[in-house]
């Protein structure tokens, strides 16, 4: 257990020292997961909202499938993306394997179902309140979607933060498609796994603490930002 106290002091040293190696890894983590989250939100929020609003045969099945996809294992996502991007895969020509772009794609695939499934529930709750009124006003489902996403933005924030958490914390997918190459595709979680393999649990934990601290900063920033915007509105 003295690794734990050692981990905290190492984490502190890392945070204070901000050495360039750490900054590089942290920067890539945020870039990759941030981009994946952006894309997943752009795709997942409308999908979730659409599943809440449109009525069609098989909607129930689609919702069940989406909920099940929240249990997509990162390693499986990694393998799928790996096969698609590999030399023998259909997108080989893009030469994306072992680049940060491949990691973005993998995390995007991983978290889009999560963002979509959670936002479906949020939007469905709002829709049950708004449905008759919006239909009465002549809003087609297509016109209702942006309204619902906008009016539900506070609740959807938690959804998006859940997606970010999943992306920034996962290692199974990015290590397969990124390869954990030093200075190229090494991110916080792959570095943590590496130190764990090496048996340097204190350093691994310290990196974990740094990652959590970062998540905390980002969440706090988002929270302050939302409050500030609300106050203005």
């Amino acid at each position: 257990m003295n690794e734990l106290s050692q981990a905290f002091s190492t984490a502190l040293t890392l945070l204070v020292g901000l050495d360039s190696g750490l900054l590089e890894i942290v920067g890539l983590s945020l870039r990759v997961s941030g981009t994946a989250l952006l894309l997943a939100s752009v795709v997942g929020l409308p999908i979730g909202a659409a599943l809440a609003v449109y009525r069609f045969r098989g909607r129930g099945a689609a919702v069940v499938a989406l909920n099940a996809l929240m249990g997509l294992p990162p390693v499986v996502v990694g393998l799928l993306v790996y096969l698609v991007l590999s030399r023998e895969g259909p997108l080989a020509s893009l030469a994306l394997l072992f680049t940060p772009s491949a990691m973005v794609i993998a995390q995007f695939v991983l978290i889009t179902p999560i963002v979509a499934a959670l936002s479906r529930q949020v939007v469905a709750d709002l829709w049950s309140e708004y449905e008759e009124q919006l239909r009465s006003l002549g809003a087609t489902p297509g016109r209702a979607l942006p309204t619902l996403l906008w009016d539900g933005r506070h609740s959807l924030l938690t959804t998006v933060l859940a997606g970010f958490g999943r992306a920034v914390a996962e290692v199974g997918a990015v290590i397969i498609v990124g390869g954990n190459i030093a200075h190229v595709t090494r991110v916080m979680t792959t570095a943590i796994q590496l130190e764990t393999r090496k048996g340097d649990l204190a350093l691994a934990l310290a990196l974990g603490i740094v990652l959590l601290f970062l998540s905390l900063l980002i969440n706090a920033g988002v929270s302050l930002l939302t409050r500030a915007t609300e106050r203005r509105a």
Binding site: E129, E132, R135, L137
Partner: protein
Amino acid sequence: MTAGASILPLVARGLVYQVGGDRLLGPIDFELEGSGRTIVLGPNGAGKSLLLRLAHGLLAPSSGTLEWRTSDAAELRRRQAMVFDRAVLLRRSARANVEYALALHGSRGAERRARAAHVLERTGLARIGDRAARALSAGEQQRLALARAWALRPEVLFLDEPTASLDPAAARRVEELIVEIGSSGTAIVMTTHDLALARRIGDEVLFLHLGLLKERAPAADFFAAPGTPEAQAFQRGELTW
């Protein structure tokens, strides 16, 4: 008030609405012919709100038919509006609620702003147009819902107890407004529990009881000589649970 051929008449035949095994409304037959003010009366739970929602196309009949002159769904939507008994206001300012509805109907820019300002002014909300709609008082919310529906210049306007939460003066002003809207070519279909109001402004009365259309008559006749014992008891305030 609206261009093109009218969407009226609305003809209901054997209209029934049920949930699970319970028949909540019908079978009902009626026609809504043209402009004018139709008042739907009846005790609590008679099915007035259900009837309005069915007519407005928000609920699908369990059996029977409801037919407008046109079957163009988008057109039907565009030419009707409804004020619910319980206003559902969007999470934005009172003005933005009106402008949102106008935007859905294709109104843009200065025209939209002017129309919103006008309807807010006429419903006494101009001063508080920038307040969050959901923070308004009960009466203010009810007026906002009316303003929003009226802003759309519907050909048929369904009003579900539009004066229930209004103070005496507001109720008078809204009554005048409803009469004015009706006179400018909009068909009004309105429920109310205010029999004096119904008597003053109603052209025709539909009287519902326990889900059935018990009586349909010109308002003057209905109030002068109700044709059913239920309607008589209702008017005396004695048709009780």
